[in-house]
């Protein structure tokens, strides 16, 4: 799942993902609110849960209305989090240490990737996380 308000970034990230692995299914949201709505909808409809719930979320930090960190606040309220672990990576052009520290302190945040996203960066992030179920340390990919 990709969440970014910038359509170009969204497009680029999607293409990079396809390059990384053409078989990856992606779902894109151009704002965090609709992503949260999507999750809420799934909570109500238990049947499609297992299929639609993403393995990985790439979350932009700076977004209007609800930014990446606000997203986490909402995300915590969801119930199905107890059963499954979704790896959420923050993606940002910001190299501001404050943002990175904030992400590090966010328990649901698995890592921080700086833009632009590249195939190599994706590899670093995803190679392990797809296969190994155990909790991994925070990843900072620049």
């Amino acid at each position: 799942m990709l969440i970014d308000d910038n359509k170009i970034d969204l497009f680029v990230n999607q293409r990079i993902l396809e390059k990384y692995n053409p078989n990856v299914k992606t779902r894109v949201f151009n704002n965090a609110i609709s992503a949260i709505s999507f999750f809420k909808l799934m909570e109500l409809n238990a049947n499609i849960k297992s299929v639609a719930i993403p393995d990985v979320i790439l979350l932009d930090v700076n977004m209007p209305e609800m930014n990446g960190f606000n997203f986490f606040e909402e995300f915590k309220q969801l119930n199905f989090m107890n059963t499954r672990t979704i790896e959420i990576y923050m993606v940002s052009s910001s190299m501001c240490p404050d943002d990175i520290n904030k992400a590090r302190n966010e328990p649901y945040c698995a890592g921080y990737i700086t833009k632009p996203l590249t195939v190599n960066k994706l590899k670093k992030v995803l190679q392990k996380s797809v296969n190994i179920e155990q909790h991994e340390p925070f990843k900072k990919i620049i």
Binding site: N6, I8, D9, V12, N13, R15, I16, K19, N62, S93, S94, M95, C96, P97, T114, K115, P116, L117, T118
Partner: protein, 622 residues
């Protein structure tokens, strides 16, 4: 016969007379040159000398009797002229007893009119005289101001000793002041000035005047003009000087002048916008209040006069405020220049506002007065606050702008990456690569800019620095920039104490300095191996980071510009953003450190950065 009888008679009479006088009076007869040829018992008693020791001694009589030279001179003048002198003499004998003698000195002449003998007759009037003068002596002990002898003339010698007074003073029994110094009667403040005046009179023979202020018996201020006048003898030598003091109060002219001055100052005082208030020492109450103070505090003068100063100080600050005031007062009392005091003032309507007092003081009689010039600094404070906030806002704005500008750049970079994957012909590949470089540069610039804008924010986050790690990290980070692999690095760290600073700022300094040496290194040749030396010395108080290279060096013309914003020394070596050294300088200066650069063209450059150790205890809270 009859003549003889007459002689005998007169002789007998004379003898009887002498005998009776002898028992009552002090009698001495001296010859023409002043040698004592006769003295009676009273004389020796009073002079407390053995009967025979004085006989034949020249002038001993006068010397013994006349302790004041002026009087001596006066007497000498009189008897030389063949006149009789009469006056009161004071004698203090060796055993400490004082005697006042009503004395007559009479010359005895021969037929030719020449003086052959002097008869000195004195009567001891000590008992009577002392009773009469004791009051005056007490007054003398109180050190009455010389100005009080307003109608009298005082005679002084060059040391300021009073050697005689005018007749009226004698009649008023001020004799007791003879032998004292005029300084005993003058306000100590004026001592130096008067001393100078006295000296002037005696050395230059000029008439001098001085003005002084005293208090009358009722406590009013009285102004005096005293005139010092030298008195010459026949040889044109100054023998003594006279002082005559006049009360200025009687002079209409002086009064009107004074009044004019007073009106002038009181007008200034009242109309000036700067608040001024005067406090009397004894009670701490306000005794003067002007318009400026009224405007600032809201009290009219009738409301505030007589109130204690503390009503003007914010309730929360009364304790500290009073302490500050007392401190300032002590300073003033010790004749040091008082500090300005900043405190929170309290308006009549309860508002508080920052205020600054400049203190001064003066003394009038026994009472000390303190004057506070009040400056309302609320505007200044407000401006200071505003400036601080504006600076912060600006920094934040710069930071945010840099960030937001970066977002589209990174998007473009992302697109470019995709573009590279497409099938491109040679020409488009070239363009794409150039575009890539341009975007990269823009991104670096914005990163630096964002970093520079939040330097001052970083001071909150201080931790221990491991320089070894910092340098390795910097070398790793810089690995990959052009030229890097050709450079030989020599690192020397001499750390005697733990060093505390902000991690990122140290990263930035080290990286920027090293980056700089890499950018301006010479190409490797057989003779030259481009080398960068990094030396770090850490002491308890400071860290010295020295980075030197054997690179291209900086031209003299440019050396003072290297730390400027966006300054780039050469157009050939376009690596870097022009912000690196600016950031280094900003960091050093923000933390009260320093940067220095020395360079020789074609030989190399050395940067020295000095940073304070922000260890706990060293930290200053500003």
């Amino acid at each position: 016969m009859s003549k003889e009888l007459e002689y005998t008679n007169s002789n007998i009479q004379e003898k009887a007379l002498l005998a009776s006088l002898d028992s009552h009076l002090i009698v001495a007869i001296s010859d023409a040159v002043g040698r004592i040829i006769y003295q009676n018992e009273n004389f020796t008693k009073i002079l407390n000398v053995p009967r025979n020791s004085t006989i034949g001694q020249a002038n001993h009589l006068l010397n013994a009797l006349i302790q004041s030279k002026t009087v001596f001179w006066e007497i000498w003048k009189a008897i030389l002229a063949g006149e009789t002198w009469r006056g009161i003499l004071f004698h203090k004998s060796d055993n400490g007893k004082s005697h006042w003698l009503d004395t007559t000195i009479e010359p005895v002449k021969n037929e030719e009119g020449q003086v052959i003998k002097y008869i000195t007759v004195g009567s001891d009037i000590t008992n009577y005289y002392c009773n009469n003068t004791s009051k005056n002596s007490i007054q003398c002990q109180e050190k009455r101001l010389i100005e009080n002898f307003t109608d009298d003339v005082l005679y002084i010698n060059k040391y300021g000793k009073i050697i005689n007074t005018s007749k009226s003073a004698i009649n008023n029994s001020y004799n007791s002041i003879i032998g004292l110094y005029i300084y005993d009667f003058v306000n100590p403040v004026n001592h130096d000035y008067i001393k100078n005046q006295v000296e002037k009179v005696f050395t230059k023979g000029k008439v001098c005047k001085y003005q002084s202020m005293g208090l009358s018996e009722k406590g009013n201020q009285v102004f005096f003009i005293s005139k010092l006048k030298p008195v010459f003898n026949l040889d044109n030598e100054i023998i003594y000087a006279t002082i005559k003091s006049k009360k200025l109060k009687n002079s209409a002219k002086a009064t009107s002048q004074l009044k004019a001055i007073e009106t002038k100052y009181s007008n200034i005082f009242q109309s000036i916008n700067v608040g001024i208030l005067v406090v009397a020492n004894s009670v701490g109450n306000i005794i003067e209040w002007n318009k400026g103070a009224e405007l600032a505090f809201g009290y009219s003068s009738s409301e505030i006069i007589g109130e204690p100063l503390t009503v003007l100080i914010s309730k929360n600050q009364v304790d500290t405020g009073v302490k500050e005031l007392l401190k300032a007062k002590d300073k003033l009392d010790n004749d040091t220049y008082g500090d300005n005091i900043e405190m929170l003032g309290l308006r009549k309507n309860g508002e508080e506002f920052p205020v600054e007092f400049a203190m001064s003081n003066w003394q009038n009689g026994k009472e000390k007065f303190y004057c506070a010039f009040m400056l309302d600094i609320s505007k200044r404070k407000k401006l200071e606050e505003k400036l601080k906030k504006t600076t912060k806002d600006l920094e934040l704005f710069l930071y945010r702008s840099a960030h937001d500008l970066k977002a589209p750049l990174t998007s473009a970079e992302g697109l470019l990456h995709l573009l590279k994957e497409e099938k491109l012909n040679n020409r488009t590949t070239l363009l794409v690569n150039m575009l890539d470089e341009t975007l990269e540069k823009g991104r670096l610039l914005l990163d630096d800019l964002a970093f520079a804008s939040i330097i001052s924010e970083k001071r909150r986050d201080i931790t221990m620095i491991d320089f070894d790690e910092k340098i390795n990290k910097a070398l790793v980070a810089l690995n990959g920039i052009k030229n890097f692999d050709n450079i030989k690095f020599e690192v020397a760290i001499n750390q005697r104490a733990d060093f505390y600073f902000n991690q990122e700022l140290i990263d930035s300094i080290v990286q920027n300095l090293i980056h700089n040496t890499v950018c301006f290194a010479k190409p490797e040749t057989n003779n030259i191996i481009p080398t960068t030396c990094i030396q770090i010395n850490v002491s308890d108080t400071h860290a010295f980071i020295t980075v030197s290279d054997n690179g291209l060096g900086i031209h003299e013309d440019h050396i003072d510009k290297v730390f400027d914003l966006y300054f780039k020394a050469s157009t050939v070596h376009t690596e870097g953003t022009g912000l690196g050294l600016y950031i280094v300088k900003r960091i050093a200066e923000d933390f009260n450190g320093s940067v220095r650069v020395t360079s020789k063209l074609n030989e190399g450059t050395t940067f020295e950065v000095q940073l304070p150790n922000l260890k706990e205890g060293n930290v200053n809270n500003d």
